[in-house]
C-alpha cells in the first residue's frame, strides 16, 4: 500500500511547479497551463483523501468531477479572452496587457 503522504507530497510538488509557471511565464497561455496543473494537483489531493480517509464515500470523486468541469470552463473562457486580447492589442505577453493599470 502506498502511504498517503506520497500522494500529498506529489500533489504539493505539482502545485508549486504550476504556481511557478503562473508567476514566471510571460505568455498568457503558459499562465493558463500553470493554472490547469494546480487544479490537477488539487484533484490528486481530493482523490487521495477519499481513498485513505473516507473510502467508498465518493465525496472526493464527485468533487473531482466538478473540479474538472470548472477547469474546462475556465480554460475555454480564458483562451477566448486571450484570443480576443491578441486580436485587439497584438500581444499575449502579460506585462503588455496593462490597460487597467492606474
Amino acid at each position: 500500500m502506498i502511504p498517503l503522504t506520497w500522494y500529498l507530497v506529489l500533489a504539493a510538488a505539482l502545485f508549486c511547479i504550476g504556481l511557478y509557471g503562473v508567476l514566471a511565464r510571460r505568455n498568457a497561455i503558459g499562465l493558463l497551463m500553470g493554472i490547469e496543473l494546480m487544479l490537477n494537483a488539487a484533484n490528486i489531493n481530493l482523490l487521495a483523501f477519499e481513498r485513505y480517509v473516507a473510502p467508498n464515500s465518493l465525496v472526493g470523486q464527485a468533487f473531482v468531477v466538478f473540479n474538472i468541469t470548472v477547469a474546462a470552463a475556465e480554460a475555454a473562457v480564458g483562451l477566448a479572452l486571450i484570443i480576443a486580447i491578441y486580436r485587439s492589442r497584438d500581444t499575449v505577453a502579460v506585462e503588455d496587457i496593462d490597460l487597467l493599470r492606474g
Binding site: M1, I2, L4, T5, W6, Y7, V9, L10, A12, A13, L14, C16, I17, L19, Y20, L23, A24, R26, N27, I29, G30, L32, M33, G34, E36, L37, N40, N43, I44, L47, A48, F49, R51, Y52, V53, A54, P55, N56, L58, G60, Q61, A62, V65, F66, I68, T69, V70, A72, A73, E74, A75, A76, V77, L79, I83, A84, Y86, R87, V92, E95
Partner: protein, 165 residues
Amino acid sequence: MSLTQIVFIILAGLALLGAVGMVALRNLVHTVLSMVLAFLAVAGVFVLLDAGFLAMVQILIYVGALAILILFAIMLTRDMMDRKAHVNAAQWPLALVVAAALFALLGVLLVGASWPTVTAAISGDQVVALGEALVGPYALPFEAASVLLLAALIGAIVIAREARA
C-alpha cells in the same frame, strides 16, 4: 518495496518531469507536449487511487480536448513570440523562490502530519456508484455545473468571435 510503490514512483517521476518541462521549455508547442505527459501520468496516479473512471475523464478532457484547445490558441497567437524573446517575465527568480518556499513549507507540514487513515477495500462498481451519487446527493451541484458549462460555452463563443463591423 511493493510493485505498486514502484509504479507510483515511476508515474510521479513522469508527472514531475512533464510539469517541469511545461514551465521550463522555451518552445510553446513543446510545453504543451510536456503538459500532455504530466496529465497522462496524473491519470495513472488516479488509477492507483482506484478512480478508473476519472482517469479516463482526465485523458479525454485534459489530454484530448484541452491540449488541442491550447495548441489552437498557440497557433492563432503564434507570431508574437519570436525565438529570441524571453519566455519568462523579469520576476522569475522571485517566482522560483516563492514556489520553492511554499513547497518546503508544505513538505514539512505534510510529512510531519498524521492522518486518520483507514484501509478498506473498494466495494462494488465505482462507476455505477458515482453515477448514482451524481443524480442523488449531488444532483444540485451537478445541475449547477452543467449551467456553468453552458455559460462558459456561450461566453467563450461571444468573447472570441470576430466583431462584425
